[in-house]
């Protein structure tokens, strides 16, 4: 019978091992990318068209979800901002300028990635978890296939590319929906709202960097959870839940780290 200290220690060790294995999966995926680039066309690897299929699943199938969600959030955020301004100064001239900076460098990539973490992360974990508990992953290995190369690498590439694309679309929708709300609810002149003169290249760079980092993190965390599934359907359910929680947390943590790093690099002049 183990005491409370042993149980806490065992749990801590378990977390440390999981962090180490997650890091190893990330390194293996980068190595797998290299192998995919070096692979001859007639040699082993994922089936032809797999990258396109994954881009369709991650990108096209998430498009409506991202547009609706970010559109509504853009409306709510702009409405709240205008409402507060109307109570204090009544000057709406900076709403559009501040909104676009915030949406490009923070809200756009982060909210898009949060949506993908739930939809795509759950899908990847459930698919890979199901393959794990039915020994299909072992069958892949017995055919001389590295599961990371076959399953994770195409999802990783597709996720990075489509997260950037969806972030651009989500940012435009969020900003546009905010402009519509400001115009209809507070009579803010659209030419005043859609003034992008405050946007600097560094805002775009931070937004793209975040989108790439989030797009890379989601399939790694979700794939990791799927490949750790044990037992039967209960194990797949656990893996799916862990993937949604883990990839959402990864998005928030990376957002914090990249934002802090950007502040440090620019000396606070964002």
């Amino acid at each position: 019978m183990s005491g409370p200290v042993e149980r806490v220690g065992a749990a801590a060790l378990d977390r440390l091992r999981a962090a180490r294995d997650l890091w190893r999966l990330y390194v293996s995926t980068i190595a797998g990318l290299g192998r995919a680039l070096a692979r001859r066309r007639d040699h082993a690897g994922p089936p032809r068209g797999e990258l396109g299929r994954q881009m369709f699943h991650i990108g096209n199938r998430s498009l409506g979800f991202v547009i609706v969600t970010l559109g509504f959030i853009g409306m709510v955020v702009t409405f709240e901002a205008c409402l507060q301004l109307s109570r204090v100064t009544g000057d709406y001239s900076t709403v559009g300028g501040q909104m676009i900076r915030l949406v490009i460098s923070d809200f756009g990539p982060t909210l898009t990635a949060m949506m993908l973490a739930t939809r795509v992360g759950a899908g990847i974990a459930a698919e890979l978890g199901s393959m794990k508990v039915t020994e299909q992953i072992d069958a892949l290995r017995m055919s001389g296939v590295l599961p990371v190369d076959y399953l994770i690498v195409p999802r990783f590439i597709a996720s990075v590319l489509m997260t950037v694309v969806l972030t651009v679309i989500g940012t435009l929708v969020m900003y546009g929906a905010g402009g519509l709300t400001a115009w209809r609810s507070f009579a803010v002149n659209p030419s005043l709202y859609f003034d992008i003169s405050l946007v600097r290249p560094r805002h775009v760079a931070i937004g793209v960097l975040k989108a790439v980092a989030f797009g890379a993190a989601i399939p790694i965390v979700a794939g990791f959870c799927g490949l750790r599934a044990r037992g039967s359907s209960e194990g797949v359910g656990w893996a799916t839940t862990a993937a949604v929680v883990g990839s959402s947390f990864a998005v928030i943590a990376l957002d914090f780290v990249i934002s802090a790093a950007a502040l440090w690099v620019t000396g606070g002049d964002l």
Partner: protein, 254 residues
């Protein structure tokens, strides 16, 4: 050269000792059956031989290559595994492929084999296992017996040098069981592959293999000719094979 050498192999899951200091050798072209009570470590032993799991102690050499760490990493095992065929107890068929796609998979992953040759070999294998005409069926449309036969076709399509069978006939009716064992025996005759098979159907297994080893509480307690397994000198083995209620096995299990 041996097809398989296990030297002082031990495997634990948590505090449970599954395999305890196992040493085993299988000559090239030889056929060995593994029997034993449930949860005696038979499937774990097969997974260790395939390199799907790593032992906690001891070394394993398969077809001349040592597959235990620190000698190899997962990325190094790919080429060796292409020389091994494995039939999984739960079939482990790819549900994103049809029957022909499943059987073709090991050949496609080898690389360098023309598509026409792959199609020809897949068709021949499916004919051999009695699945001609089912090429385009998805895994979900297959019965248990058809899944098992698809798994056998996939395990043997690449003419592996070592074939591992995990319960090849579990859950099948006696007629299908006999058909599958005839098929496995004919296939082994054709390729000369070494065979390591785990099965609970001792009578049918004895038709396929030359020798049978009895795994009990993590140790191989008996290894002898398959034909005379019912008269093995070890009372544990005799009771298990004959399915008798009274004997040392019952007393040990309680």
């Amino acid at each position: 050269m041996s097809a398989l050498v296990l030297t002082h192999v031990t495997k634990r899951y948590g505090t449970r000792l599954v395999l305890d200091d196992i040493s085993l050798e299988l000559a090239r072209g030889a056929r060995l059956g593994l029997i034993g009570p449930a949860a005696s470590g038979k499937s774990v032993l097969l997974k260790l031989v395939a390199g799907l799991e790593q032992p906690d102690a001891g070394t394993i050499t398969v077809l001349g290559d040592t597959i235990t760490r620190p000698h190899v990493r997962e990325v190094d095992l790919g080429e060796l595994r292409k020389r091994i065929g494995m039939l999984f107890q739960s079939y482990a068929l790819f549900d994103f492929l049809d029957v022909a796609g499943n059987v073709a998979f090991p050949l496609e992953q080898r690389g360098g084999i023309p598509a026409a040759e792959i199609a020809e070999r897949v068709a021949a294998r499916l004919r051999a296992v009695g699945l001609a005409g089912s090429e385009r069926k998805l895994v979900g449309e297959l019965s248990g017996g058809m899944k098992k036969r698809t798994g056998i076709a996939r395990a043997t399509v690449a003419d592996a040098e070592l074939v591992l069978y995990d319960e090849p006939t579990a859950g099948l009716d006696p007629v299908t069981t006999q058909k599958i064992y005839d098929l496995l025996a004919a296939d082994q005759q054709r390729t000369g592959a070494s065979v390591l098979a785990v099965s609970s159907d001792v009578a049918a297994l004895a038709e396929l293999v030359d020798e049978i080893a009895f795994l009990y509480r993590g140790k191989i307690v008996y290894r002898g000719p398959a034909r005379s397994i019912r008269d093995a000198p070890d009372p544990l083995v005799r009771q298990f094979v004959r399915g008798e209620l009274d004997g040392p096995l019952t007393e040990a299990i309680g």
